[in-house]
């Protein structure tokens, strides 16, 4: 293992950490540059075990379109949940649903689970150990197969395309 690899197992993560640190502190003074650099080296080093294999975005255009879809869905989802919350007559019928997933990459799976949690009435609850099924909790479940179809088409397909996995 080269010393470069030992000290900077994920150079891109380190760079992002440094930039985020500078942005958060709103300065580029020497002190913060140094501190940011130290954090950029230490944090990836100590969290190395949690990092999946590095993945790269292969389809930037799809990512942007996907982000727009998700942002819109978050808005719609929040309004829907807000309505269920405020309407005293609403009797949502919650339930669990299992979605089969076929993403080969840990990072892509994380992205999918996170997206599911942020969008229409669903929270991802458990990933099966073989990484083939995602158990989700649905706030108002009326058509399970339609919902599963929706998740696969709207979120899984673009994520698959973005990371090419």
């Amino acid at each position: 293992m080269s010393s470069m690899k030992r000290w900077l197992p994920h150079p891109d993560v380190s760079a992002v950490l440094l930039i985020v640190w500078l942005l958060l502190n709103h300065t580029v003074s020497i002190g913060h540059l140094l501190l940011g650099a130290v954090l950029g080296v230490l944090i990836p080093k100590f969290t190395k075990r949690f990092f999946p294999e590095p993945v790269y975005i292969k389809r930037g255009a799809v990512l942007i379109r996907f982000a727009a879809t998700v942002a819109w869905d978050i808005l719609v989802a929040s309004i829907a949940v807000a309505r269920l919350t405020l309407d005293p007559r609403s009797r949502p019928a919650p339930g669990f649903a299992r979605v089969s997933v076929s993403l080969a990459d840990d990072f892509a799976l994380t992205a999918l689970a996170g997206t599911v949690s942020l969008t229409p009435g669903t929270v991802s609850a458990r990933l099966s150990p073989d990484r083939k099924h995602l158990l989700i909790h649905v706030l108002d479940l009326d058509d399970e197969s339609a919902l599963i179809q929706d998740i696969k088409q709207r979120y899984e397909a673009p994520i698959k395309e973005i990371f090419q996995c």
């Binding site: 985020v20 942005l23 958060l24 709103h26 978050i74 808005l75 989802a77 929040s78 949940v81 807000a82 269920l84 919350t85 405020l86 949502p92 019928a93 919650p94 339930g95 669990f96 299992r98 689970a113 996170g114 997206t115 599911v116 949690s117 942020l118 969008t119 009435g121 929270v123 991802s124 609850a125 458990r126 099966s128 150990p129 099924h133 158990l135 909790h137 706030l139 479940l141």
Partner: protein
């Protein structure tokens, strides 16, 4: 004009945050309760921060990248914590109004 937009965003954001918290109280079990804070409150905070960004910009403080970063962090962390709470609840077989999924079905 922009001050108006900023005010609307802050008001809307605050209402969403409030509704999210009402959801936390009103829904019957831990799984349904997760829905309010993960979605509605996150969006509400996003609105508040956007409003604050516009306001700061009007005050001549420049573009507040900090707020954008906070929004980014919020949207990254909210689903992760919700997932962990749900997973822990399932693991402990917490009561659910809809019947729990089979424990062995996928574990």
């Amino acid at each position: 004009m922009f001050e108006f937009i900023s005010a609307i965003l802050i008001l809307l954001g605050a209402s969403f945050a409030l509704i999210g918290s009402i959801g936390l109280v009103r829904f019957p079990d831990i799984y349904t309760r997760l829905h309010g804070p993960t979605k509605v409150t996150t969006l509400g905070l996003g609105g508040l921060l956007l409003g604050s960004m516009i306001y700061m910009f009007l005050q001549g403080e420049g573009v507040a990248v900090r707020e954008l970063l906070i929004i980014g962090f919020l949207f990254l962390t909210a689903p992760v914590s919700a997932h962990l709470v749900a997973k822990a609840a399932l693991h402990r077989r917490c009561r659910s109004v809809c019947g729990l999924p089979d424990r062995d079905a996928d574990s």
